[in-house]
């Protein structure tokens, strides 16, 4: 049953770089779109709020697979223009997950106490400095755990790319299935699962590291800072 393990691992590994590029590219663009959409929804300018809200609702409320099919099949048919499959894939992944990320950013910014905003206002900081220097750095700590979830979801969504013939790991697994005896199929998909698991653990490790750094910048040392500091005060009192 494991006769072909070496072959299976090496064949699947050929798709690994595509999966990683799609995930990393998707994550990077997701972060940008999330910030733009999140801050856009909080803008004092009504038009920006409207555009951001429309973007979020549209991409959150429509099927990811259908969005993918649109860019791959409908868009070229309409415009005669075919984008590089991997680039199109990254774009769809980011547009979709950026819509969720926008809500994460908005929620985190709004969770920063109003007193911080007023403290910055009382020092005459400009609206740009208030956001970039005071509010966003504090909101960041709240954003990282939900972003961790979002990035893992994005990683798993890269498997959808097999449907539009991008040769990432799921696509290769499916083509191996056709070439191998039934008894080997278990191995193929077991290795495939493990690959996703390892990648997602890597994402979590990276995000945890960022969380610790962000918390340290706020002078917090533990994972549950608010509760801890209150306990601390009570013990000291």
């Amino acid at each position: 049953m494991f006769d072909n393990l070496g072959l299976i691992v090496s064949r699947l590994s050929e798709g690994l770089s595509t999966t990683v590029i799609a995930a990393v590219g998707g994550i990077a663009l997701t972060v940008v779109l999330s910030l733009v959409a999140g801050l856009g929804m909080l803008s004092p300018v009504a038009v920006l709020r409207g555009i951001s809200r429309t973007y979020v609702e549209f991409f959150r409320g429509t099927s990811e697979i259908v969005q993918l099919f649109w860019i791959f099949f409908a868009l070229p048919a309409l415009t005669g223009f075919q984008i590089v499959p991997l680039a199109a894939a990254i774009l769809v992944l980011a547009l979709n997950h950026g819509a969720y990320g926008g809500e994460i950013v908005r929620g985190a910014v709004q969770s920063v106490p109003r007193a911080q905003y007023e403290g910055a206002l009382a020092l005459s900081l400009s609206s740009r400095d208030r956001m970039l220097r005071v509010i966003l750095p504090q909101a960041l700590v709240e954003m990282l755990p939900p972003f961790n979830n979002l990035f893992i979801q994005l990683l798993k969504s890269t498997s959808l790319l097999s449907l539009v013939v991008v040769t990432e790991i799921t696509f290769i697994a499916n083509s191996l299935r056709a070439a191998l005896p039934v008894s080997e199929q278990l191995t193929v998909y077991a290795v495939l699962l493990l690959m996703y698991l390892v990648l997602s653990l890597l994402i979590t490790a990276g995000m945890r590291w960022l969380e610790r750094r962000a918390a340290a910048r706020l002078g917090r040392t533990r994972a549950t800072p608010r509760i801890n500091s209150r306990l601390h005060k009570e013990q000291a009192a």
Partner: protein, 243 residues
């Protein structure tokens, strides 16, 4: 320095201040007292342009507060405010808190702002805490940093809103001593809301008693605390002084 002229402030249907008029002279120390909800914080917030009036006018150093954002920024630059809950920025060290606005708003160089920060931390007795995070300081220390942060902007006017109310009793004296020191050594105009009547008595030149959105009594502390004229003032003082 500060002129309130027929000021009304309402939130929806609730009238918080009605037809309020008073003036504060340069370098004067005025304490606002009055029952909870009488509008003391609202007055300070109006001055800081955190809220705007619904009728009447407020002038600071001759400039009318119009609610226009550019004007508001000009006025805010001359005014420092210290909050009950400190409102230090947790994402910056003590140093960062002190140099942020002087460098970004006043355009000081890092070195100039740093020198100013060190000087002020000496004044508030916290020089060795310059690279600490605010969360590592006691409430009293945080409040002294917040006072230093407001002073770093060299304000003409300082607004103090119950700055000792959130502190443990043993930390109050240190903060009040610092404020007395600032009061004696600078000519900053100070408007202060406090329940510390002992402090109000020897710190302020004038005490204003608020009730129902108006000033009901306005007198030097010696007079107001020993021989209040209004029955409401008498009741209020009896309640807070516990006699």
């Amino acid at each position: 320095m500060i002129v309130f002229d027929g000021v009304e402030k309402r939130f929806g249907d609730t009238v918080v201040l009605s037809d309020l008029s008073f003036t504060v002279a340069p370098a004067e120390h005025v304490t606002l007292i009055g029952p909870s909800g009488s509008g003391k914080t609202t007055i300070l917030r109006l001055l800081m342009c955190l809220d705007s009036v619904t009728r009447g006018t407020i002038r600071v150093a001759g400039q009318e507060l119009t609610g226009d954002e550019k004007r508001s920024r000009q006025v805010r630059r001359r005014i420092g405010m210290v909050f009950q809950q400190f409102n230090l920025f947790p994402n910056m060290t003590v140093r960062g808190n002190l140099i942020e606005a002087p460098t970004r708003v006043l355009g000081l160089s890092k070195d100039e702002a740093n020198a100013r920060a060190v000087e002020l931390l000496d004044l508030v007795g916290l020089r060795e805490k310059i690279d600490e995070h605010p969360s590592r300081l006691s409430g009293g220390q945080q409040q002294r940093v917040a006072i230093a942060r407001a002073l770093a902007m060299r304000p003409d006017v300082l607004l103090l809103d119950e700055v000792t109310s959130a502190l443990d009793p043993e930390l109050v004296a240190g903060v009040l001593a610092l404020l007395r020191d600032i009061g004696e050594t600078t000519d900053i105009t100070i408007l202060c809301v406090t329940h510390e009547m002992g402090f109000a008595r020897d710190f302020s030149h004038r005490v204003m008693m608020f009730d129902g959105g108006r000033v009901i009594e306005d007198a030097p502390p010696e007079r107001l605390f020993t021989a209040p004229e209004q029955p409401r003032t008498q009741e209020f003082l009896k309640a807070v002084l516990g006699r």
